[in-house]
Amino acid sequence: MAHFLTFVDEKETLRKAFLEDQELVDLLMNTGNNVAAFEHFSTGSKSPAGKRVKKHFYVPGTTSVDGNFISMRGHVAYADSNVIKRVDLTVYIICNEDQMDLLQGSRADLLADRVDRLVNNWSDTLFGYGGIRLLSADEVQFVDGYSGWEIAYTTCERNMEADRIG
């Protein structure tokens, strides 16, 4: 997929993968502190977690409802061949600090692990050419009360000339 439709495709695919994963949906939605006692929320496009997974760079304001979120941000790293471009997609795991500490560990860490298992893949990859590679990851505080992970993934996509090649 050429030009910036790349990001439309990648983000939709990522959102679909997240919302279809039971473990990830449960980690986003449950407010208790014991993963073993988590309720199962429905998955798929009608999942209540749908409002928590954003396809744009979203950071909750201090007046937002308490909750945990995943958002995304695209970046074209370089495109010097006109055929292939390297695109980065940063996934933000944004957790409410009041809901951070679970008996099994930090909610942000558990969510980051789940995201990484779904995305960081060299063979049966979600999108792109040659697999999706973890580029970097940092723990960050987004705003007062919300912290989590900033995880950058990279892959290669077709650039503008690729359309002519077919």
Binding site: V8, D9, E12, T13, R15, K16, L19, G44, S45, K46, T63, S64, V65
Partner: protein
Amino acid sequence: MSEESKKWYRMTRPLFNSGYEDDEFFAYGQEGFLEQLDTALGMDVLLYDKRIDAKPQKLRAIVQSRTADTFNSADDRQILCPIGTLHCGQYVRFEGGWWLVAGIPGNNRIYEKAFIWKCRHNIRFLSPVTGKVVEYPVVSENSTQYGTGEENKTQMTVGDDQHLVYLPYNEETIMLDNQFRFIMDKNRAQPSVFRVTRVDPVSYAAGEEAFADGLIQWSVIETQFNEATDNREEMVADFFRREQGGEPGRGQGGTVALVDLDGDRLLTVGETKKIRVELTPSGETEALPAYTLSYDLADGAAEVTGVEDGVITLAAAEDTKNVGKTVTVRAAVEEWDAEASLEIQIVGW
């Protein structure tokens, strides 16, 4: 000294009062007030219990401070009523205007008094209890009074007005939580929409002894009018919702309808949806008639993967190019001469 003499010694005898004045005063004080209400001092008011579609109580009352000296004092008046009439959060209507009983009423054993605030604007929204459009007069105070009302975002400037809105506490208003949107504007062509960012049902409550009374204070911030979901004719935000069913077909023998079991009439790329065929005969009948199904699947945007016990399973193709297309399902009952149709829109993730 005898016991009787001791009692007399300790007793303080009133100097001026006979001791009967108190009874006299309070026996006739309240009735005297009622008589005053019937004079030119009193006026007819309608009292609504926390919502304006409630049945009003008509009574006589005295409204004080009617000749305001300043802009701000024009909003504040006091109402005097017979004891036991007023509750914080009631609406008072007189001279065509809406007023809100904002203070906790109190009495001096002659009359009951509370201060009332002028509701300068009415807001409309869909009731979270009934789903119907309801209207509430509110008191709104601009809390960005000396701000410009604009906020500079990275590439554009958006409205950034903040208000404090007061409305009665009841079973309906307490359901409206953060992120609730409503239209509040006199401009009906380009109305401003506001989003609730804080609900404070506590600071203006009336106490545990009057739990059902009190006000709710909202902090609201200006947000953008959404052409897709907000209705400027009704002045109701988030008005347009997709109905669960499509157009039912009414015939001579009964009605046929198609009901989307998800309730949103949206089918996401790569997912399935179930639609139920419902036949409702007009009269009593032993067996339901046969029906036929037909589809317009928008050039393969979706396919029917099964029909079992009157439930159709529709699967959307795994192709984002179909996003925005509409597929139509129809059910027809020839015997009743009735046909129902349901449109489902294909959406992306």
